[in-house]
Symmetry: C2
Subunit: 337 residues, 2 copies
DNA sequence: CTGAAAGCGCTTACAG
DNA sequence: CTGAAAGCGCTTACAG
């Protein structure tokens, strides 16, 4: 089927001009007279010609395309980052191609290979579920920006949320209300989750507080939050007076599970989420949460990538953006105090 | 940068074999001895060679890639369809490339051009925000499956939810509870919204009920649902006893806005959503809603596309999948009855 | 603006 | 398995 598509040759024939002229017009060259341009464009649209990008790319060694890998289409967090990212790429005249691995390591590898094989000019990785070191050999030949923890590598640029600030905002807020038994429900084994857990532990220690046992939701989902809450309720451990959930989805799972018990939020337990998703803003949830600069993270990732693509800058760049706290109705002073 | 990447030539030199052999190995040909295969693979990984897919595609006229256009990354509805879609494509050995237009018509056009330019073997369009007739000329040369209302066209296959069944399930349920003043809050001008509105009106008439004035959320978002509710509350119209919102996000917006009034759901007003998203399942929402066969819609779209790609089938295929009703706690008998 | 040439990194088809 | 050739649809660089 593809072979029957019109080519530049066809456009040139129909317009009665050279193939070189058609090529200039398609690349928006300023050296073409308005009359010729109009004639070529008319011929092109008459026969339904559209440039074959892969042929162009093969010849020019540029694709003007940014590949975006994203961990999970289900997490609204990525949608927001993607917003900033896509708008900025579009503004710079870049095409954007997205792939995802649906949280399966195999498919994630394949998704990135697809982007690589398509010869995108650069790659943006949103929270990949594998160590970045795997990607490093790739990054020697291809600009890569990861929305992930800063690396020592000069080959991969990073843009990330300041986890230390996030944890501090949450814990300061809870401690200010009088809480001391604060539990973190973490997001599992992924790099983002590990980073957040580490920040929590550090800040708790700074406050002279015991970070307590590890309770994990294993993934950034509602179901994970429910399961973790189940385990907590069944455990012999004393209940915490406040929970810092690794993201809003986990917090929603916690809330949902607690709604099935006699424990009331925030009367008996305070709860904080992370990401300030649409869910958190609803009156029925009114979740106290952390607002990451999601759109800015997306834009900055693109700016950083394009900078590396166009300048060939050899040194790594690592941007860290500070989040803010949004206090709603799931946090209050502990009951028995 | 791209020019410094290793090519087949480099692999052949290092392995001491011909370029043709390398090509056979990379395409997983069975005519290669195990020894040769191992040698080639070793050489490839030693120098970090990965096949240049765009060169392969240009030469072979196949990309083994399916392009997926999706309207809005924020709507969890698409994430679920994408799940079925990606898993099925992966199972058939196809790569998948996603683009989105963030609900802007210009960017949507560009997003589709990108996929087309990349010479994907076929396109799947998830609820495009423009008339499919624009795409028809494209579809003459390229297999296209749209998750959208069935067309008369033989060039575009469609897979869709049975809107008539959905509307009937909702209205039968509400009428069974005793409701007669049922209002639909529609999703705006897009094709999916129009289809759903039309189904609502038809089924209302079949019941001999008045579909009432048109109230639109203008988009499938929480904010749209809030605005529509605002307008409803301020209007002179008598309040309905039940609302059928065009999707769960709109329903959430309605609920959120009503939580700010003295109107209680379902005591004073019944509410039904559409899509059975994670939101609807939460105890605090417990939204009665319609469950589309999302994963099946995604899988079937891929199967239909691959069928057209491989057989060149000239006739259009139009699949319609019946949804089901999930009754939760936002619907009950009307109060004053 | 035209025209002819070389090349991008592969695949395809074929003779050996 | 090798080797040489042609071609995919473009871009690039150049002489005119």
């Amino acid at each position: 089927m593809g072979s029957s598509l019109p080519t530049m040759e066809d456009v040139a024939n129909r317009a009665g001009v050279s193939r070189a002229l058609v090529s200039l017009v398609m690349r928006d060259s300023p050296k073409v007279s308005d009359g010729s341009r109009a004639a070529v464009l008319a011929a092109a649209s008459a026969i339904g010609y559209r440039p074959n990008l892969i042929a162009r790319n093969l010849a020019s060694h540029r694709t003007m395309t940014i590949g975006v890998f994203l961990d999970d289409l289900h997490n609204p967090y990525y949608a927001e980052i993607a917003d900033g990212l896509l708008a900025t790429a579009y503004g710079h005249g870049y095409h954007t191609l997205i792939t995802t691995g649906r949280r399966h390591p195999n498919e994630q590898q394949r998704a990135i290979e697809t982007l690589f094989g398509m010869q995108t000019d650069g790659l943006i990785l949103l929270s990949p579920r594998f160590p970045l070191t795997i990607i490093e050999s790739l990054a020697v030949n291809l600009p890569v920006v990861a929305v992930a923890e800063p690396l020592k590598s000069d080959h991969i640029d990073t843009v990330s949320n300041d986890e230390r600030v996030g944890a501090r905002l949450i814990i300061d807020h809870l401690v200010g209300l009088g809480h001391r038994r604060i539990l973190h429900i973490d997001g599992g084994e992924g790099p983002a989750a590990t980073m957040r857990l580490r920040a929590f532990r550090r800040v708790m220690k700074m406050h002279g507080l015991d970070p307590g046992p590890r309770i994990s939701a294993e993934e950034f989902t509602e179901a994970g939050g429910e399961r973790a809450t189940d385990r907590l309720l069944k455990s012999a451990e004393p209940m915490p007076s406040a929970i810092f959930a690794a993201n809003d989805l986990i917090a929603a799972g916690v809330l949902d599970r607690l709604d099935d018990t006699k424990i009331r939020v925030p009367r008996d337990l305070s709860l904080v989420g992370y990401d300030n998703t649409a869910l958190a803003t609803m009156r029925r949830m009114s979740l106290t949460t952390i607002d990451q600069q999601r759109v800015a993270i997306g834009s900055l990732a693109v700016e950083t990538l394009i900078d590396r693509i166009t300048t060939g800058r050899p040194a790594g760049q690592h941007h860290v953006l500070a989040p803010s706290l949004v206090v709603r109705k799931t946090t209050a002073a502990p009951r028995s105090k």
